[in-house]
């Protein structure tokens, strides 16, 4: 049986949006699929060695469950994003949700291939030393080469 293939484009760097690519990639790899994730624009933040800066904001996020109803204007106050982030992380830990670092390690261990968008690195003048080892740097053509052969291809 030929292994199925999945390609994901990860474009978001917020805490909630960081999970789907890593959950799907690690699961598909566990099912024996060959998986590649192409990280571009804000998604590139997920390849940093230090993921502690990944945050979530209640701003422009009306579906986010809040412990108490909160007027939108309150979400603008200084410290609200940090508070929302620490509350979300505490909740995740309590519910047994893996940390982003753990999920990313599981992906790499299962040979999920991570590709960082070179254009984004140049655009934002990122330092490659800030990124984890074992990743490749490439462009759209690199991604399309694999994406064209996949069974599942997602843009997240």
């Amino acid at each position: 049986m030929t292994a199925k293939k999945m390609a994901i484009i990860a474009t978001k760097g917020a805490l909630d949006m960081a999970y789907p690519p890593l959950i799907l990639a690690s699961t598909a790899a566990a099912l024996g699929w060959e998986v590649q994730v192409f990280f571009t624009f804000y998604g590139l933040q997920l390849l940093r060695k230090d993921l502690s800066g990944i945050a979530i904001s209640p701003l422009a996020n009306p579906a986010m469950p809040m412990p108490v109803p909160m007027p939108v204007i309150v979400s603008v106050l200084p410290g609200m994003q940090a508070m929302a982030t620490s509350m979300m992380k505490a909740k995740m830990k309590k519910k047994g949700v893996a940390s982003l670092t753990e999920l990313r390690d599981l992906c790499q261990e299962a040979e999920v291939k991570f590709i960082a968008c070179q254009m984004t690195v140049d655009l934002f003048e990122f330092d490659k030393n800030d990124f984890i080892d074992g990743i490749e740097y490439g462009g759209a053509a690199t991604f399309m080469k694999f994406a064209g052969e996949t069974d599942v291809c997602l843009f997240i």
């Binding site: 699961t27 566990a30 024996g32 047994g96």
Partner: protein, 75 residues
């Protein structure tokens, strides 16, 4: 039911029960049986889907003392 190895996924949420079950199976021999205990209700469907896609046989899927219990025979 007899088993050769056990993996306790209690308290773990998706996708960890599946991803770590896969890891637990890695060092087992074909034909050996892995018992998995989980508390994630989603693991009931997920374990069946995992078995179907990987070829490992899901010998049993049930619950014991409020937890979900699975027996997987390695392909």
């Amino acid at each position: 039911m007899n088993f050769d190895k056990e993996f306790d996924a209690s308290g773990l949420a998706c996708p960890l029960p599946i991803v770590k079950t896969k890891k637990s199976l890695a060092d087992m021999a074909p034909g050996q049986v892995l018992r998995v205990v989980a508390t994630d209700p989603g693991s009931v469907c997920d374990m069946a889907a995992f078995a179907e896609q990987t070829g490992h046989a899901l010998l049993h899927s049930g619950s014991e003392g409020g937890k979900y219990v699975f027996f997987l025979k390695k392909a």
